[in-house]
Every structure is written in C-alpha cells, then in structure tokens.
C-alpha cells in the first residue's frame, strides 16, 4: 500500500493540482487566524472547518490527476480497484495531515500554546475534519461521477452541509465548541469516530461503485 500512496503523491505533485487548494488554505490561515487576540481554539474552528473543504477539494483533484486509461494501468499493477482507491484516500489524507500540522504550527506561532492540550486538540480536530472532508468528497470524484462540472458542485454542497447543518452532528459540535473557546473531548471523539467510520466504510463502497460504473 505504501507504494500505491507514494505513486499517487508523485502523480499529484507532478500534476500541480495541489497548488490551488494549498494556496486557498494558506490564504484562509493568513486572513482568518492571524489575530493574536482571537485565541487559539476559535482559530482552530476556522482553520479546521476550512480544512474540511480543502481536504475534499484535494481528494477530487488527486483522483483527477490520473486519466481513466492511466488509472486502469495502475489498477493492473495494484491488482484491484479497491487498492487504488485506498491509495488515493491515504494520499489525500497525507496531504491534508500536512495542512493540519501547518495550521497548528501557525496557531502556535501566532497565539502561543496556553497548555499542552491546546495543540493536541487542534491537531486532532484538524485531522478529524480532514478525514470527514476526504470521505464526503470521495464519492463526488471522477471515480464515481463522470460529469466533470458536476463534481465540485456536488462535493461543495455536501461539504458545506456537513459543516453548517446542525442536524448532521459529524464535525459541527466540535467546531461549535471550538468557536466558543472550549475544548470538548466528547465532540472531538465524535468527530474522530465519524472520520474513521466514513473513511473505513466509504472507501470500499466507492471502490465498488467505481467498479460498477462502467457496467
């Protein structure tokens, strides 16, 4: 699996499709989390919420980096479509994890760290949001959705719903707690659990849907 992830990262890097989401995320960090008076936790709410969107953007761009013919050859090397999709998910998650680290380091640089818990909560919150973002956007990628113009619209709609709709308690309780400046471990646990479940169940489901798509 390591080889599959390395290959996907190499294709993504060469395609330079990571540049727009990476720049957008840096812009969000620069504009919305650079106020030293705002506090670290509310800043995490903004940067983790933004990372949910950016991670979804990343996975769609990463899947798009290989054209369908090239993807078929990659599947022949890996032996199954599921391994390909798992490699793509892990590669996108790795990119999002780097963004999460950047966001937390940025926060420490701006706000300092009031306790050891703050950066830990921040990092875990970002990782949870990144995982949910990848999992929610994956079914909207080229693996399943053939119409290129439809993919970003579908993904953005779903991701914004996850972010803002109170009745979808995936990351919303966590972000609300962070915005209020409180560290809610149950909300963090729920978000991490949601990310793990969505990624764990969604990856094979998307692989199965992609396999059926050409039928």
């Amino acid at each position: 699996m390591r080889a599959a992830v390395q290959y996907q990262l190499a294709v993504f890097r060469r395609s330079q499709r990571y540049v727009p989401p990476a720049l957008a995320y840096l812009a969000v960090l620069a504009v919305f989390t650079s106020d030293p008076g705002g506090g670290a936790l509310p800043g995490f709410a903004v940067s983790a919420g933004a990372l949910l969107l950016v991670a979804g953007w990343m996975v769609i761009a990463l899947v798009d980096a290989e054209d369908p013919v090239q993807r078929a050859v990659t599947v022949s090397h890996l032996g199954s479509l599921r391994r390909l999709v798992t490699g793509q998910v892990l590669a996108a998650a790795a990119c999002a994890a780097v963004a999460a680290v950047v966001a937390v380091v940025w926060s420490i640089a701006v706000h300092g760290a009031a306790s050891w818990q703050e950066p830990v909560i921040g990092l875990l919150a970002h990782l949870a949001c990144a995982g949910v973002g990848v999992a929610v956007a994956l079914p909207c990628s080229a693996l399943v959705v053939q119409r290129e113009g439809l993919r970003p619209v579908l993904a953005a709609s779903l991701l914004i719903a996850v972010l803002l709709v109170e009745r979808l308690p995936l990351v919303h309780p966590l972000l609300r707690a962070l915005t209020a400046g409180t560290a809610s471990w149950p909300a963090l646990g729920l978000a991490l659990l949601a990310a793990a479940v969505l990624l764990g169940a969604g990856t094979p489901l998307v692989a199965a849907a992609a396999a059926r798509r050409d039928q």
Binding site: Q6, Y7, A72, G79, D214
Partner: protein, 277 residues
C-alpha cells in the same frame, strides 16, 4: 520447453452492455499457459472491451470471468497526460508490483533498451512520441514477468525494429509458459504472432480458420488465365487491364513465378495478401 498447457483465464458467455452499445454478446474464451491468442475485429467491434474484461479491469454485464493470473496490461493509447518521466514511472510501477528497487531499475533499463526507446528516460511521458510512449507502456507491462500479458493493438505506432522485438517478446513469453492476449487490426499480422487467432464480430468470438498465407502476382504474357486457374496452389485468377492477377499460396510463389518467366511472362507485381480484419 514450457510446461503443459494450464488454464489461466476463462471468459464464459461474457456480455458487456453500455447505455448505447452492446459490444459483447456472450463471448467465450479460454487462455492457457504457453498460448498467444490474437483477436482481430473491425473498429468498434469490442476488442478493447474484451481485453479490459480479461485484464480484470472491468466487470462483465453478464457471464463470468474465472481465473486471476498476474496481468500486465497495455491500453491502445498510452498514456494521455502522464507528467512523469519513463524512469520514474517504471520505478513506481515496479514498487507497486512489489519488486525491489534495484531489480526494477535493471528490468526497466532492459526493456527500454530492448525496444529501442529513444525519448529520454526523464522526459515527461506526455511529451513523448506515440511510439516511444508505447514502448514505455510495453515496459511497464513486462516489468514483473506477468503470467498473462494483455496488449491492445500493441504494434500500433511502433517503428520497424520495435515491431520485430515485440513479436520476439511475445514468442519468448509463450515459450516461457506465460500467456499473451492481444488485439490487432490486420489478421495476417495477428496470425504471425499468435498461436491461435480469433475474430470478434457482432459481440461473439469465433476461431479464425487456418489458411495458408497468400500472395498476389500480376503477370503480363502469353499464358491464358484458364491455364493458371487449373494450376496447383493458385486460388484465384482475374483478368486485369494490364495483365492477369493471380492469388497464390505463399508456398507456390517461387514455382509459379519460375513457370511464368519460363513461359515468357513479365512479372508486374508480387504482393502479400492482407486478410481484412
């Protein structure tokens, strides 16, 4: 010598249906070790679909695909937008196949050299000519010595020396006990490289009957067409404005030419007859 033929893959009554087309309608195919199976068919007849099913890259709408040999796959166009160089791409391909790095480097260099790859190993593949990209495609498929090679019109775009090398490689893989499944437009070429030829038409595969290769000879001289029509090895005779056209079995080419020259005929043309796909 390769081991006795063992079944590697079986396609049983496979069909494939898309929204607007049904390229396969119950095709049967068994591929065993030590076989090179050539599939001929017109454009759009479903050859590529058949190969994708055989390479387990697509699922049939009906029927079953049994067997799971390690497979090397070369699509009919390779690749469309890959920005990596051949060296880096093959390194990743080797890793994904579980080959050690040093062995991958060695094998990649071997196959690129053997196919006379001349595009620059670090040149982004999307800047390579069709022929050089095809050579990288062949190298990635051969890298890990797969049990089954699935090649979609592999001779397309290759230059003369590389075409000959590919024919040698197919023969070697068969001799080593692997299997090769390929498509080709030209039935004659498919027959040369294949141990068995199949035709795909109307969504069904049929064996191509063995028939000795033929040549077309155009003669101008005193021998009447009726006499040629009775001669052994002459399949067809047709009067032409500037002489007489004979279609002759290749084995009878030299005797017929010698006889024609002895009889005072001028030889206007000798051409290989290419069977239509």
């Amino acid at each position: 010598m390769h081991p006795p033929e063992v079944e590697l893959l079986r396609l049983a009554q496979v069909s494939k249906r898309y929204r607007s087309a049904r390229p396969l309608r119950g095709a049967d195919l068994v591929i065993g070790t030590g076989e090179a199976v050539g599939v001929v068919g017109a454009n759009g007849s479903g050859k590529s679909t058949l190969l994708r099913l055989a390479a387990r890259l697509s699922r049939p709408s009906g029927g079953a695909v049994r067997g799971d040999p390690t497979t090397g796959y070369v699509p009919d166009r390779f690749p469309a937008q890959q920005r990596m160089g051949a060296r880096e791409y093959l390194r990743h391909a080797g890793r994904m196949r579980g080959l050690p790095a040093a062995e991958t480097e060695q094998r990649a260099a071997h196959w690129l050299d053997r196919f006379w790859f001349a595009g620059g190993v670090d040149t982004p593949m999307r800047r390579l000519s069709k022929g050089n990209a095809q050579k990288v495609g062949l190298a990635q498929a051969l890298l890990a010595d797969p049990e089954l090679l699935v090649l979609d019109e592999p001779w397309s775009g290759l230059d003369g020396p590389a075409r000959d090398v590919l024919a040698e490689v197919v023969a070697e893989r068969v001799e080593e006990g692997a299997a090769v499944l390929f498509t080709e437009h030209q039935a004659g070429y498919a027959r040369t490289a294949a141990t068995r030829s199949l035709r795909l038409a109307d969504g069904v595969l049929t064996e191509v009957a063995e028939r000795p290769p033929e040549v077309r000879i155009v003669l101008d001289g005193p021998v009447p067409p009726e006499r040629w029509a009775q001669r052994e090895g002459v399949r067809r005779v047709r009067p032409e404005p500037d002489g007489t056209e004979l279609v002759v079995e290749v084995a009878q080419r030299e005797p017929v030419l010698a006889e024609a020259i002895d009889a005072g005929c001028a030889v206007l043309a000798v051409q290989e007859v290419e069977e239509p796909a």
